[in-house]
Amino acid sequence: MTQATQKTVKDPVLVVLQLSGGNDFMNTVVPYGDPFYYDFRKTVGIPEGDLLHIDNRYGFHPSLSRLKGMYDDGNVAVITGTGYPVPDRSHFRSMDIWHTAEPTKVVAEGWLGKVIRELDPQKQNVCTGVSFGQGLPRAMYLGGVPAISVRDLESYGLLTNMSGEDKRRAVNVFTRMYMPVEFDEARMILDQIGQTGVDALAGVDMLKPVPSLYSSNIEYAADTLSQSLRGIAQVHTADIGTRVFYAELGGFDTHGAQMGTQTDLLGNVSNAVADFFDDLREHDAAEEVIMLVFTEFGRRIRDNGNGTDHGSGGGAMLIGDRVNGGLYAEYPSLDPADQLSGDMQFNNDFRGIYSTILDDWYGIQPEPIVNGSFESFEGMINSLS
């Protein structure tokens, strides 16, 4: 293999999109062919004629039209019946479980934090993991491992009100004050803050030029998710070595007024994600990116007359040019005899999805990260190499 061809193999990149609040998977990919669906979803059900049909049993929510287009192109894998043993209906705890890949005990280490450590063990690049939006997710946190959180690339900078010699001195003092003598997770919160400060400064230096390097014909919408994904496209196309991205959209806790709310939210997701991949393709930077879309839990099979309550058994999606699209795993039966106290029975552990990504995409040993051995989805991802 020559030097030139070696260089054309790009590093695999993962974008995680978190839908917070418990997205109702039953109305995202709708099992309209299941005779029980319309029995249980009398008011919070989507008429068969409105659905974007996948086959004669399943259909996408009507506002997912652009995502459906990507599905038809073979780039969307839908994993149904996903969950974990002993489902927890608390947002707080269930999100934690997805973030830490640890359903049995409370731990602080995020699964993506461990991924970042594997990808960059020498901590050579603070931008190996970059999160857009409100705050670093627990999934990306691991003591001593850098991860950058950005709200707005354009205004990202330290001591922006200062200039000249004053600023040079202040940044110098800041850098030296924050530099931990020797990082020790157990020692002190001050060291953690110090490390965050040092990473932040390095991140600012790397991210500052990013917006000026970017131009695109894609016009993203003004909403937060679209802007987050635009930021991710900017950083990715700037080629600064980021391998893990994170974005979030909240509002899926639809106990009430679900029909309108979920329609808006899923429309937002569909458009933002489609714009994002169109943008990457325009920059010839799509092939090396896959996106995982997840939510902390699904919702009850029976609606409550206006919305749906917290349930178990959700679903996830993996999206990208290197993804072999289609429906994966069994869609759980809605038959009351098969239900788990009013919820869908899960039939695959979400850590199997993580394992697939780790093994087939990153080429990382999954077990230490997902805390066990879980069945991967064979053939879901075509690796880059």
């Binding site: 999160s131 627990r138 950058i148 202040a170 919160i189 803050i193 965050t196 106990h255 007359g305 309550d309």
Partner: protein
């Protein structure tokens, strides 16, 4: 008054950072004339002090004149936090706001949010039984957790679940059956809008009980059996040991330290029961305890605490006419705590999670910008206070004076040395331009430090 009853200024500083929003030393020195226990009583006895007059803001500051906007309420909250003489009232409101998180993202009726905040301010120091009862009747909370769609025959368990999980007992202390029982007990608890939204704008909403929509059946809840209504559920919940633990943990985490101390929490939980659920009794014990006095700088400050403390030092927004308080809202949002609009029902993640690379930069930028301008009234007062301490200052003397004057801050030796190396050899007399410049430069370094993130 004899000198023996004076309180150590650094202890007063600690108390005021926690029970209030922190103060510069020239104000702490006045408070230190009183014994510590009396300072605690002054904080707890809010009736000894008046609230700031907010009408003036409505009348004279157009920035605050749009009642259709929840920012109207939020600007007034910032104004009140900066100016109140009852700071503990606002601190407990902040604490409960993060426990009973409701957000403008869903509560589009601004009156609902204002009413909800007033409930936290007016009752936050009171009895937890009353707090939980008020919460259950609060139109904002009812709408936030879809309680108005919890019907007899078609239940919505959102409030029943979160009442047990997030507002009182916590996970692991009840069963799914208890969630169902509580949910059924709250059927028929709903709200009415007195007048529809348009064309007349928003109006106050109010709680109503619809007995034709209530499930009057016998329920089993936490081992007790009866025809329980929502009030009975609250009665039973507040009696639970897990609720005592929950309230004790809430107070400990907010007022003492990010790292829990089970012994201290257990002792607070005992006060919860001994006092029949009185929050102010628990706080009296807490503030007078050794574990509290020893827990200096053991908490990462929330954005709201950092912002209001910075404004106490900077001296702006002391009268209702001053424009620009909106910038404090923007800052809190950028630091990850947009008040009255938490990200979800679980509120904000606190402690270490207040700090990530983005939030840290915003915190540092804000505090440095506000504390390095000698023209700002509060900064001027701090410089004047330092100027009166001695005729001239070496670099270490000036640094110690700044740390003290800003409210008895403490830097690690490493941070001190780095600042002193930057400042170099000086011997400055007050009253010169270079004295002011060096002092504000040092104040900026302190405001940018790791230590300044803590309280």
């Amino acid at each position: 008054m004899t000198t023996s009853t004076r309180t150590d200024v650094s202890l007063v500083a600690h108390l005021m950072r926690r029970a209030a929003f922190g103060l510069p030393a020239f104000q702490l020195e006045q408070l230190a004339d009183k014994p510590y226990e009396e300072l605690v009583e002054d904080l707890l006895h809010i009736e000894r002090y008046e609230r700031p007059v907010e009408d003036l803001m409505d009348r004279f500051n157009l920035e605050h004149a749009n009642e259709e906007d929840y920012w109207f309420t939020l600007k007034k909250w910032f104004y009140r936090m900066i100016n109140t003489e009852r700071p503990l009232e606002e601190k407990v409101a902040l604490m409960w706001h993060n426990r009973f998180a409701t957000a403008a993202s869903k509560l589009t009726n601004p009156f609902m949010l204002r009413h909800h905040l007033e409930m936290l301010q007016d009752g936050g120091l009171g009895n937890f039984h009353v707090i939980l009862s008020d919460l259950s009747h609060d139109p904002g909370m009812i709408y936030w957790l879809d309680q108005q769609t919890n019907h007899d025959g078609a239940v919505n368990e959102n409030y029943g679940r979160e009442l047990l999980e997030l507002f009182s007992m916590g996970r692991g202390n009840y069963t799914e059956d208890d969630v169902q029982a509580a949910t059924h007990a709250f059927t028929g608890w709903t709200i009415e809008q007195t007048i529809p939204r348009y064309p007349n704008g928003w109006y106050e909403s109010r709680y109503v009980f619809r007995d034709d929509d209530h499930d009057f059946s016998t329920k089993t809840f936490l081992g007790e059996k009866g025809e329980f209504n929502g009030d009975d559920i609250v009665d039973i919940v507040v009696r639970q040991p897990a609720t005592g633990q929950f309230v004790a943990e809430t107070l400990y985490e907010f007022f003492v330290a990010d790292e829990p101390d089970q012994k201290a929490i257990d002792s607070l939980a005992r006060v919860y029961f001994d006092s029949d659920y009185e929050i102010s009794e628990m706080l009296r014990v807490l503030f007078n305890s050794d574990y509290f006095k020893d827990a200096r700088f053991a908490r990462v400050r929330s954005p709201a605490e950092l912002i209001v403390n910075t404004m106490k030092l900077n001296g702006q927004h002391r009268d209702p006419y001053e424009y620009g308080i909106r910038s404090l809202l923007d800052a809190s949002q950028a630091m990850g705590q947009e008040l009255l609009n938490p990200p979800s029902v679980e509120g904000w993640h606190t402690g270490r999670e207040w700090i990530d690379s983005s939030f840290l930069i915003e915190r540092v930028n804000f505090a440095v910008e506000r504390l390095t301008d000698a023209e700002k009234p509060g900064v001027r007062k701090i410089i004047d206070h330092i100027s009166g301490m001695q005729p001239s200052f070496t670099a270490p003397e000036l640094l110690d004076a700044c740390l003290y004057a800003m409210g008895c801050w403490v830097l690690e030796e490493k941070s001190r040395q780095i600042i002193l190396v930057d400042i170099g050899d000086i011997d400055l007399a007050p009253g010169s331009e270079s004295f002011d410049a060096t002092t504000t430069r040092m104040m900026g370094y302190i405001a940018s430090s790791r230590e300044f993130q803590m309280a």
